[in-house]
């Protein structure tokens, strides 16, 4: 044994908050009770109604996903590795499978790529609706949008169940392609739902995104400038809300995205409201993508048979998940189990924004900023 146990001892006291302790400051522990999106604790130092600094204390839902993945076979890792963010399961699944397919030299047939793309965009809408209901709606005290978004999300979940057989944890994309072809009547029901959802988005705009109360609470709060977002390595809607046009679907197209025509919504302001709007516009783009994919869907096989072993070597695959770029590094050693799986997800990357943004703001602004990041503690902890 060459390891030194002392290495894991904390080098600083357990409660270390960056700003100095003053007679007027007070330390408050927020969480780790479930704030609507998983367990997270923030050690806040407040001065009156102002937050001086915040120290995120994460790990309450850490399960050692990367370690466990080394014990499971490549295929049985699929249901395991989508658990960190069950509301975004297709993307967590797809990102893990891409490097394995690359190592195995498997190319998914075009029809399979289109089905995966449709499932992924449905998942993006579902995930953004969850964010809208909880992280935007409930955290800003807007319970009406919570009811609207959660109700509509269930309609998508029902269709996802029709396609994959499960409501949330689909395990739909093993190496080689999706498990099932589109069921009968699925296309008609999905198109009907998209028409309905497009009308609902107009109402969402009216009751939430154009609501003066929401604008007053979110606009100008938690501003992350463009160069700061780049420096901190933000990703996904947080990055695009700060004026950086970066989306893996365009930068390094996977699935059927290269054939489809869609826009990447970008807002320059960088505040919480801009991040709200990015997700709102992304839902509209997802509708557009699904409609096109259904129309252009080629005929033919959906999947190829993939070997059960992961050949020797390492590969990096990435997808644009609902919380931004999701990168997997998979190392194989010619056995059926990966020798290393590294997950780099949007939530863990936006963790650094918590101490950076929740600083010199009112205590009441903290939930808005936290909600606008769409930080998912379980995904970050893994």
């Amino acid at each position: 044994m060459t390891t030194n146990p002392d290495q894991t001892k904390p080098t600083a006291p357990p409660i270390a908050i960056t700003a100095a302790k003053e007679p007027s400051t007070l330390d408050v522990s927020v969480g780790p009770q479930h704030p609507g999106s998983g367990h997270l604790r923030m050690l806040m130092r407040v001065d009156g109604d102002y937050i001086v600094s915040v120290d995120p204390d994460i790990g309450y839902v850490h399960r050692g996903c990367e370690k466990i993945a080394e014990y499971r076979t490549a295929v049985s890792n699929i249901p395991h590795l989508e658990r960190p963010c069950i509301i975004d399961a297709i993307h967590l699944n797809w990102g893990y499978v891409l490097p394995i397919e690359e190592l195995q030299g498997i190319v998914v047939p075009p029809r399979g790529q289109y089905i995966s793309t449709i499932a992924a965009e449905m998942n993006r809408i579902m995930s953004h609706l969850y964010w809208l209901a909880i992280n935007a709606g409930v955290f800003s005290g807007h319970t009406t949008i919570f009811m609207y978004a959660f109700g509509d999300r269930d309609l998508f979940i029902e269709l996802a169940e029709m396609l994959t057989g499960a409501r949330l944890t689909y395990s739909f994309l093993p190496p080689g392609g999706p498990r099932r072809d589109l069921p009968a009547e699925f296309q008609d029901r999905l198109l009907k739902l998209l028409d309905y959802f497009e009308r609902r988005l107009v109402e969402y705009d009216r009751i939430f995104f154009s609501n003066p109360l929401v604008i007053a609470r979110a606009k100008g709060i938690g501003t992350l400038k463009r160069d700061e977002a780049i420096k901190l390595g933000m990703t996904g809607p947080v990055l695009r809300g700060s004026g950086v046009k970066y989306d893996v679907r365009k930068v390094e197209p996977y699935g059927a995205y290269a054939d489809l025509d869609f826009e990447i919504p970008v807002f320059e302001e960088g505040d919480s409201y801009a991040r709200f709007l990015v997700r709102f516009e992304e839902m509209k783009q997802s509708i557009k993508i699904i409609r096109q994919a259904l129309e252009k869907m080629p005929k033919g096989p959906i999947a190829r048979k993939a070997p059960l072993i992961i050949p020797e070597g390492e590969a990096i695959g990435r997808v644009e998940s609902s919380r931004g770029e999701l990168t997997y590094m998979v190392k194989g050693d010619n056995s059926d189990k990966p020798s290393r799986v590294k997950i780099m997800n949007g939530s863990f990357r936006s963790l650094i924004a918590l101490p950076y943004l929740i600083r010199n703001v009112h205590v009441a602004d903290m939930p808005i900023i936290y909600g606008s990041l769409d930080y998912w503690p379980v995904e970050a902890d893994r």
Binding site: T2, T8, I352
Partner: protein, 164 residues
Amino acid sequence: MATQSPTREEDLVNKLKARFPDAIKDSKIEGKHRITIHFDKDKLLEIARYMRDELGFDHVKGVAGVDDPTHKKIEVLYFTGSFSRPEIEDLIVVLQAELPRDNPTIASAVSVWESTHFHERETFEMFGVKFEGHPDLRKLLTLDNWEGPPPMLKDIKFPEMGQR
């Protein structure tokens, strides 16, 4: 037959090799979007600064440790990318350093890439890699009362989960 002009990836690797002839040990171009650079761990900060300021790799997507007990080494991988330069935004350049397993120590890249802050904390905790100069190198994910070696090392086995 005329020699082909170097591709964008070859050009990047050549630039790095010309600038750091001793520190770059090996390089590998995989596919269209991936480059792996093996470098001497003592030169991390110089290479990182050059990559950020001259080549435009402005952020790190993650820092990974890979334990290799048979060769008695721990590898540290920096996954770097660029947001600000559209011509290289699809690339992931992996900077890879080998550290001795009995004393894994490397300079912290936080002063160059602030985005490595929490990734280095995680790698410190999971692999015991000491990042010298990190402003806040504390445990992050495991329980406060976790005792023992860093959990991601291959020494730590869970027989109940199947032999590995």
